[in-house]
Subunit: 822 residues, 2 copies
């Protein structure tokens, strides 16, 4: 194994050291006055309470799944029970990075407020440092964990043969499944939490009681601020963590069995490359983070763009250099596709290009002042319904360009480097996750800082500065969201390809009714999942509304602001926490259980269809919901300041009927953009990665494939092959029928295979000829020998005759001699 | 050709005779007083004006597409320019049946009102007779047209060989494309018309001016009633017409090349069967219609259910009998799958079962008093936003069971009879379209009758009777909608399979990046299309709102109801007409152009992916939008009468804030359920049928497939094969590159083929061994022979020597003897 592999955990440690330093630096900053500290502590405690409550439930889930994984894989020749440990490691590290990031984010928020009292740049520095800790923790822990685990597993199972390497990576995929499971629960749970608190704080506190935003008398306001942290910081961290790990592992798996072009010598380079690229991405992210600086009056947007786009640009160059250095000059052959070092670089650039373009489009559809959002505002004139219809139509329309771009990305990257290219393109988008996440996580910190400024009654310029940071955070988040969706789509396709390879499926034919059925079911899952998430928000919000109403009713003097009277904020925090955790379980299990059930009952083909369906419909719904939600949000914000001037010249201010219609749209958009939408990304990848983990189990004689095998082997053979293949007999009978019905008319033969078969047939003909020649030769030789023998025989006969003559002559002589003697 | 084929147009004529008689009967009924007649005439004229305006635009579209079809297919060996005539015939007949149905529906509405003055049964009889004319015109004209065209084309191109039959059916598919194109425009145009008028009438007339529903002073009220006819009667008629034709043609195409089991003799039975089954369906529908009767105080629902379910049940039995009679007893083999007569019957029953079940589920999700709608009502308590969220969540959730059922239907029907079984299942759902459509079209007639009763100030019991009929119509419509979606999904799959067959695609492998890209684009289309449809409604409604406001402002005394002052209703009718026609063009073209562009540029594989994507996402969105819209509608209606009692015991009446929230939901739902939702069904099938029509063109050497062929054939061969294959060279170069990159890593190998190759390799090894052994043996034998020969030679030489010695001795003796004798 390449010595470079050992550098991977080192790069991870580097990121962690950076994160630790930043965390220390943040801690050392001024945390402001006692009021600020008190508020910050409440937020911090609420966030931590949620995390612990969540992790308690997840621990049970992880234990159960790990046990099942260990049991199902015991004795498997292509995987191992050790996959359970990989799963636990992935889950643990995902949880740990969420914990670190949250811990620092809830420290950075109040320190950002304090820094904003001095200057914009100081406030940016603190909030971005907080975000950096999240970003670097995620990539650092992820790469350290994954790299170390790969080195250990390589030692245990070996990477010397393709079979051993396959087994090593099959076991490694558990890590990705662990990360994805935690991510889904964190996103769904966090999304429910934040929206329940938000709706409660807004509907009762702001609308019914008439309090301003972030007023300390509002019992749900702390829960609302906690929600920003658990939803946006921890949820997004877990999200990008699993994308990052998924893209790396998907690419590694697709590197199995590659050979140096022109030889039959297998090479580990494409397996190790993703880890090395990710390591380089960490360096780029760290370097990029030093460029995030702004002068007073400057635009933080420019600073953040310089940092993140700069890092991505440098990374693209790095990819060319690293690949050039590692890749054999003759290229690497992936089952016949020869990929040169430069092709890998091009695939990375394609991925980055598509990611940025999708991000820009998402941002266009959601930005204040742009045509789409203005359209929604205009439609608010005629009321609630037209505002809603306009937002829904906008969300649906906004799927067009991203889907075209993703389709282009898939075709283009596979043209240059096959399916490995698609995986590399996804990885290209995610390699600088460190700084991207830092930029994303900075947003909610700035948002929180604003809330704390309000609650602690700071001077107006403080709030202005935090608002500047917050506004930039929203734009950045919009781009980041598009980026996340595009990378999720590409990662899902890479995982899909990896699943096919590991489950030994050679094709997934849509015309096969089982695949069709899988496609329909898969397409339905994101709809069902979104419905569950939205209902969960609705129910949790109901609980919160009741509680806030109760407090205003029962706590005397609260609404009026009598000094010393405080709301029972912990109760609201508690309600959000409990509701979020209760409601996250079913949608989370849906994602894990469905692929397992389909895979084991309907076989890998149907599961492949399911993955395709869930990817297409999940990505579409994610774009639709995120953009509709984002547009509604900014349509509402368009009324802020001096109001919005319509095309007909009329000006509509905050508080007008038009604005009220926009507020309704925003409320509808909340669960769209903050709960269901972002969870769908994870849903898609989690289902793909669960399929990948169970791939060796379902490929190994179970279900559909077993039945297929029966066409050539007898039932006994089938039963001998896989210990777990209990339903072998039924499978065989069904298989035989299927071969008659479904398989026969399909029979896909590629030209390459065709050529192969033709060459085999030619070889047979040649051999047959050769046998004939040999036989003929042998025959000829034998004939010639026979002739010689006959000649010999004739000679011997002639001799015998001569001998007889001679003997007669001698006898005659003897007679004569006797006569003479007489 | 079977003589039975000639019965098909006869069955069509039978339906037309029935429709004509019913139409005559309706005309003879009392049309009420002069006010009623006047209103009815306005509605009739408005509807006819819309139809003519629409047909004028469609005539241009049909002419252009027909010219293109004729040009593209000229000289094609697998199709013919005649396909353009099929296309025109399909379009013309679709338009004609819409015209007939509409003519009678706009006569039946006022006569229903008049009949309702006497009894419920009389009102039911008139309205159902009106619906029957629509239903029977559709199936009669459809089957007469299709049957006649098939007989003519069979004569021209022959059905004697598989190649000729393929060509005949390729030309016939143009009929389906004509029907589907008109259907899409009719649905989209009608949907925009009805909703623009509805919103205009409601928002300005009812809300702003405070007039009651259907008040004659409201300028948009006639347009609103016209909308019910053009949207629900003509639109739905065109919709079911194209489903009906699509299912029949899809099944016919899948019957090509079938052989009598155990022989190589091809049979026409599976090609002709769909036509015969459809003919039988007409008989069943006519018989069923005689059972639609109700006593005063009785439930019209029971009467309608008896009629439609009764017809479907009888049809299922008929299918078994007809198939048994026509089908060869040894069964028919579809590329290896042997299908018995009983299997076809079972597939029909599966289709009917799935259709009814999906219909029931749709109805459950949309019905007043059931848990889902009550949930939406409960959520209206907390305002507009929660009502909207609840409706959206309900719509998404409601996709689950239908998708499971459709997936089950696909797998089950293909298990019994392969892909032909899937097509037969779709046909099973649609064979009794005659009565189903009669039941569906009866709804808007009853609705219109209510409107006329209101506008002409009838006694309350008249309106009560029409309301009873209308309420039943809504339930029936809900079931019918689910039925339509399920049948659309199955028909789309049948068309998809037919497309694969005609484009000579052996498989559509999702792992092929082109297919993946197609899947993504296809999934996106329904979103884009829905967005366009919803925006179109918004813009058209805006124009209408402005016009109604203008009339109330400028026409003195209108609002106050000064006798003799009348609104300018024609202006509103004109605005709806123009807006609908202007806005229907782009979404309509999108559906026709996209598959053509993708097919010719990216090849049949990518187009196959597109079809799969559009089917999955289209069906999902259709269910989501229809059910969400239906639920919002009935959530609003739940407040009627005594108000709605919530779970907490509070009663919310009409006009309460809760009711207002529900009204907003209903307005959002309008374009969902009446414009975008139902159009999606047609979109999916139209795209599939366009693909089917162009299949011979893109299969014949153009695009992807040409490139694939080049791997085995030389470029010259490729160019010889298809006259239309102009870009053969580029295709070949691309193809060669593709084989290197994309095809190779995928390499789809079936287990059977795998076994084949393995056995060939084994044979070679054995032969090699055998040759070696034989050669070695021959070699060894030769050596041993040589040795023996040498030994012989040595012995002979030794003998020679002895002989020489002996001869010398004898000579010596002879000398001695001579000496002695001397």
């Amino acid at each position: 194994m390449s010595f470079l592999t050992y550098l991977v955990p080192v790069a991870g440690i580097l990121a962690l050291v950076y994160a630790y330093n930043k965390a220390q630096w943040v801690s050392e900053q001024d945390a402001g006055d006692d009021t600020m500290k008190g508020i910050a502590e409440q937020i911090h405690n609420g966030a931590m309470a949620f995390l612990f409550a969540e992790y308690k439930v997840l621990a049970i889930f992880v234990a159960v799944v790990a046990t099942l994984l260990a049991y199902a894989n015991s004795g498997s020749p292509e995987s191992s029970s050790v996959v359970a440990l990989s799963f636990i490691a992935g889950a643990f590290i995902s949880a740990l990075s969420g914990f670190f990031g949250m811990k620092v984010a809830t420290k950075a928020n109040v320190r950002t407020t304090a820094a904003a009292r001095h200057s914009l740049n100081q406030a940016l520095a603190v909030s971005f440092a907080g975000g950096s800790v999240m970003g670097m923790s995620v990539v650092g822990l992820g790469l350290f964990g994954l790299g170390t685990l790969f080195i250990i597993l390589s030692g245990v199972f070996g990477v010397d043969t393709t079979a051993n390497l396959t087994r090593t990576l099959n076991v490694l995929t558990g890590f990705s499944m662990g990360a994805s499971s935690i991510a889904l629960f964190a996103r769904v749970g966090g999304g429910i939490y934040t929206k329940a608190a938000d709706v409660g704080a807004d509907l009762v506190g702001k609308v019914e009681a008439g309090l301003p935003e972030d007023d300390p008398r509002n019992p749900a306001v702390i829960a609302d601020n906690v929600g920003d942290n658990v939803g946006d910081v921890a949820g997004m961290g877990a999200d990008l963590f699993e994308s990052y790990i998924g893209a790396i592992i998907g690419t590694m798996v697709l590197g199995i069995g590659a050979t140096i072009a022109g030889t039959t010598e297998t090479t580990l380079v494409p397996v190790v490359l993703p880890l090395i690229l990710a390591s380089a991405g960490i360096i780029c992210s760290i370097v990029g983070s030093y460029f995030v600086k702004v002068e007073e009056g400057g635009n933080p947007q420019v600073a953040l763009d310089t940092g993140s786009f700069g890092a991505a640009g440098v990374m693209a160059v790095f990819t060319f250099i690293i690949t050039k250095a590692m890749w054999p000059s003759e290229g690497i052959s992936f089952a016949g596709t020869v990929v040169k070092a430069g092709d890998v670089g091009i695939a990375t650039v394609i991925g980055l290009g598509v990611g940025v373009a999708v991000g820009m489009i998402t941002s266009y559809y959601c930005s204040i002042g742009k045509a789409p959002v203005n359209g929604v505002v205009e439609q608010s004139k005629t009321g609630y319904a037209t505002n809603i219809i306009a937002g829904l139509a906008l969300g649906m329309e906004s799927t067009m360009l991203p889907m075209l771009l993703i389709a282009f990305g898939v075709v283009a990257s596979s043209q240059v480097a096959g399916l490995y290219g698609v995986a590399i393109a996804a990885l290209g988008m995610l390699s600088t996750t460190g700084i991207q996440l830092a930029v994303d996580a900075y947003g909610p910190i700035a948002d929180n800082a604003g809330g704390i400024a309000e609650m602690s009654h700071q001077e107006p310029h403080v709030r202005e500065r935090t608002d500047t940071l917050d506004a930039v955070g929203n734009t950045t988040a919009a781009i980041g969201k598009g980026f996340a969706i595009a990378s999720a789509a590409m990662t899902a396709l890479a995982l899909f390809a990896a699943f096919m390879q590991q489950s030994k499926l050679k094709s997934i034919d849509i015309a096969d009714p089982m695949v069709m059925a899988g496609l329909f079911l898969g397409g339905m899952l994101p709809f069902l999942f979104s419905s569950m998430a939205m209902k969960a928000v609705g129910e949790a919000a109901m609980d919160m509304i009741e509680e806030v109403r109760r407090q205003f009713r029962e706590i005397k003097g609260l609404k009026e602001g009598v000094p010393g009277v405080k709301p029972e904020v912990e109760k609201c925090v508690d309600i959000s926490t409990k509701a979020a955790i209760r409601q996250m379980v079913v949608p989370g299990l849906l994602a894990v259980v469905t692929p397992v059930v389909i895979g084991f009952t309907a076989g890998p083909g149907a599961l492949g269809g399911l993955l395709a369906g869930v990817t297409v419909s999940g990505v579409l719904l994610a774009i639709f919901m995120s953009n509709a939600g984002g547009a509604w949000d900014n349509a509402k914000k368009s009324f802020e300041g001096g109001g919005f001037t319509m095309k007909d010249g009329s000006v509509h201010k905050k508080g007008s009927d038009t604005h009220k219609a926009a507020v309704v749209g925003d409320t509808v958009g909340d669960p769209f953009k903050d709960t269901a939408g972002p969870s769908l990304n994870i849903l898609v990848k989690l289902i793909c990665v669960v399929a990948l983990v169970i791939a060796p189990l379902i490929a190994n004689g179970k279900g559909d494939d077993c039945a297929k095998d029966c066409d050539k082997a007898t039932k006994e053979d089938c039963m001998k092959k896989g210990g777990g293949c209990k339903d072998c007999k039924e499978g065989c009978d069904k298989g035989a029928k299927k071969a008659e019905t479904a398989v026969a008319p399909v029979a896909p033969v590629t030209p390459a295979l065709d050529a192969d078969i033709k060459s085999l047939r030619d070889q047979i003909t040649n051999l047959q000829n050769r046998v004939n020649i040999v036989a003929a030769e042998a025959n000829g030789q034998a004939q010639s020998n026979k002739n010689t023998l006959n000649q010999h025989k004739a000679a011997i006969d002639a001799h015998q005759k001569t001998l007889n003559d001679l003997a007669n002559a001698v006898n005659a002589h003897t007679q004569q001699l006797q006569n003479i003697a007489k």
